[in-house]
Amino acid sequence: MNPSHFQQVEQQLLEPAGLNISDLEKIFAHLKGADLADLYFQSNRFESWGLEDGIIKNGTYSIEQGVGVRMVIGEQTGFSYSDEISFDALTASAKAAAGIGKAGQTGRIQAWQAKDAQKMKALYQMDNPLAAMSEDEKIALLNLADKEARSASPHVQQVIANIAGVYEHILIADNEGNLNADIRPLVRMNITVVVEKDGKRESAGTGGGGRFGFDYFTQADRVREYAQEAVRLALVNLDAVAAPAGSQTVVLGSGWPGVLLHEAIGHGLEGDFNRKGTSAFSGRVGEKVASNGVTVVDDGTLENRRGSLNIDDEGTPTNCTTLIEDGVLKGYMQDKLNARLMGEQSTGNGRRESYAHLPMPRMTNTYMLAGKEDPQEIIASVKNGLYAVNFGGGQVDITSGKFVFSASEAYLIENGKVTRPVKGATLIGNGPDVLTKVSMIGNDLALDKGVGVCGKAGQSVPVGVGQPTLKIDGLTVGGTEAQS
């Protein structure tokens, strides 16, 4: 690890409390007998600004900090946290978390000693993203979004624009003496417009972001691009006709439609569900779960991406983990607890929303590798079907494998040609077999623009998705129109 990296985190999290690394030995003394124990120190500075009606309506600033203490014995986890970082608060939390030990302690008691901090990759900058621009510049950015959206079409009635940024410092100390630190910037911008034409109204939003400073949005005409895209989407939907209902051939566009992978297979391949045998994918490593040519990875090592991390929230370096290779299920995404219980290694997917939440296996950036087909030829190969290019959220029941994701921009394909736009509709399928219906894979892999949020067990974390254009033979589309 870059020493200044570590020192900066130490300065931010431990020094104000008068704590030294060596003090942690006394804390770990309460956690003796653990198979795994860790202290997760975090500070989080958040800032957001919002525009509506052409006015900067509000801004919010917040500072959160605290420490979470976890003790794991076998399959059992004890957890406590404090929003105060001090020796006394840490001691109290450690004693509470150690309550799990009453169930039957086993040996393995050794004195705690800090090891040298590890060298670490630097996938993103350490600078405070909130400080990359002055207040006036941030406001100018939102006013520009308003102006660009309104000048994109006379039908724009309302523009709602937001920017938000987070600057996080993290220090993780575990019972083996490992110390890991990370400094994480994260920003995003969202633009939503309401358009009105001939008495009909529609709304659409778009945005982008990643692990860099707010100044990202001043580059390459990004604000104009987001604003025009939001307006284009809303106008397309003004003319949308009812979507057809029932099973049909669906062509998914590249990029954000990769939310399919996140819902259909991603969650089902998280280690906790598979260790407990509650996933539709449990015990299926080595089986064919997708068509030939389908390779899906979870990659936390992409520079500056929203879902990327230098280390996960247990201090494990992130990886590019192959989930499915040429149609065959290769493995699961693991945190330390579930990896140990399944006799595997952590894949660097142990993530948590904050110090007040327990880590669990979570995705980072999940995407399918490119195939060989020309996207135009994929569309041309469909007689009648749906071409879905933008999506809202999705959800999955990991046990039955049933998943949904909702299209927000879709078109009919008639005789191999993209024709009329159709209203948003929810698509439903079965995770373990949907990828066996993939019949063509495009050569146009793209990742999303960086605004994805994944929720699991009440915890939200930033994620990314991506895929090339895909043809799926038979997915149920929740339209309202009987198919001709």
């Binding site: 986890t77 207040e135 959800q395 309202t480």
Partner: protein
């Protein structure tokens, strides 16, 4: 949090409120309002008789909004130390210097602040220790796992208990303190039919402000097993128009789509398919939806909203006609109307029943789809277009025939509201929104 801790916390948070509001003025705010909370709890999750997780929760936070004339700024913090409070006030004041003039912003009118406040009986802390929590959750899971051989796995039995105090205060001199508690017990299990590979999962829970009022662990476990078993061998049905019966748990979502569509925010932003619906007939004649903020021990009970405005009993829909929107003082000003004391949301909604039991609704439906689960969020609030993933049961001759899965149900909410045929008396009491099953005709079901 026991009674002594409560008294101490009450005094501390009141003093802190005063400090924060004074500091806000010191740093240039013309007005300020805040919410403060502190609470603690315990949760235990059992998986296959093992303690999966034992978690101690302790939360606190301050959320502050300051006004400088018609400009506003906000800041929040989880750290309530003197230094952090000062930094938070300064941050909010700094932001207010950069925001634009908004003629609708500011505190709610002073004469609307809540006055007399009685005891809504919301606070019943439970002196639950880890050992008893583990015992209860274990008993719950055992009842589910031993219910039937086809229950092959557990997805966990959880118990949680939380109690705390929340404060709303502003520079009109208003301060409202609400102590409250909430206890939950839930169980989720997995079933598999012999000689098949597909698994099904379902769950059941009990929740109350008083732990004595929770259903027994055995009941919760057995109910979760029963529901899970009923889903075995689910299949798709053909794509068709059908009448849909939403179970009480799912029916709540229909009310929430309606309340979003008449919220002040969606009205003034014109992001609703029910734009200008006040005075319009949106539902059939027999529909009445009303709000009762002062129900004793209610999940949504309170004497004031986030603006400090006194809450009152009111009708939202009578004879199918929208009486008023759901507004806080900001959106009310935008619309030129009077606040309905709904800053922060609604407080105990009831959709009146048309009198039928669940079985009578099945008979009334005859043939159609009973929906017991909805997934995804395919709703366009601006157009009312509705398309969601669903699971449930196919019904013929008023009787459940077989479980259904991997389907969607779709329509337009405007039509769906008008096409409500009946509202059952089988109310699910576990929520601040109370409704029985809702029967809606003319929806499109997509399957095979």
């Amino acid at each position: 949090m026991n009674l002594n801790e409560l008294k101490k916390t009450d005094a501390e948070l009141r003093a802190l409120s005063e400090t924060v509001l004074k500091l806000s003025k010191k740093y240039g705010a013309s007005d300020a309002e805040l919410s403060l909370n502190r609470g603690s709890g315990l949760s235990v999750e059992i998986h296959q008789e093992n303690i999966d997780k034992l978690e101690y929760h302790r939360d606190q936070g301050l959320s502050l909004t300051v006004y400088m004339g018609q400009q506003q700024g906000s800041a929040t913090t989880g750290d309530l130390s003197t230094q952090a409070i000062e930094d938070t006030v300064k941050a909010a004041c700094n932001i207010a210097k950069f925001t634009g003039e908004d003629k609708y912003t500011g505190l709610a009118d002073a004469q609307l602040m809540a006055g007399d406040m009685g005891d809504l009986d919301l606070y019943h802390p439970w002196d639950l220790n880890a050992e008893s929590a583990i015992q209860i959750a274990t008993a719950c899971e055992k009842a589910a796992m031993s219910y039937d051989d086809r229950i092959i796995n557990s997805d966990g039995a959880s118990i949680s208990s939380y109690s705390g105090l929340s404060v709303i205060a502003n520079t009109h001199g208003f301060i409202g303190v609400t102590p409250s508690s909430r206890h939950n017990l839930s169980c989720s299990v997995i079933a598999q039919a012999p000689n098949t590979t597909a698994m099904q999962r379902d769950y059941w829970y009990t929740t109350s402000r008083q732990h004595e009022a929770l259903d027994s662990p055995e009941h919760v476990g057995e109910k979760s097993a029963e529901l899970t078993l009923s889903r075995l061998n689910g299949r798709q049905i053909n794509t068709q128009q059908a009448t849909v019966l939403y179970s009480p748990e799912m029916a709540r979502s229909i009310i929430s789509h309606f309340t979003s569509s008449i919220s002040g925010g969606s009205q003034y932003r014109k992001t609703t398919f029910l734009l200008g619906a006040k005075g319009e007939k949106v539902f059939p004649d027999f529909i009445r939806l009303h709000e009762q903020p002062h129900l004793i021990s209610g999940f949504g009970s309170c004497y004031f909203d986030r603006d400090g405005v006194a809450t009152v009993d009111r009708d939202i829909v009578v004879d199918g006609v929208v009486q008023d929107y759901i507004m806080g003082s900001y959106s009310a000003r935008q619309l030129g109307l009077k606040t309905t004391a709904n800053s922060g949301g609604t407080h105990n909604l009831t959709l009146d029943s048309t009198g039928q039991t669940f079985d009578e609704l099945l008979k009334l439906m005859g043939t159609g789809l009973l929906v017991t689960e909805l997934i995804g969020s395919g709703i366009n609030g601006v157009t009312g277009d509705y398309s969601r993933g669903a699971a449930g049961f196919w019904v013929e001759n008023g009787k459940i025939q077989f479980p259904v899965e991997e389907i969607t149900i779709a329509g337009n909410l405007k039509d769906m509201f008008q096409n409500i045929i009946a509202v059952g008396n089988d109310v699910d009491p576990r929520s601040a929104t109370q409704t029985g099953s809702i029967l809606i005709e003319g929806m499109m079901v997509a399957g095979e």
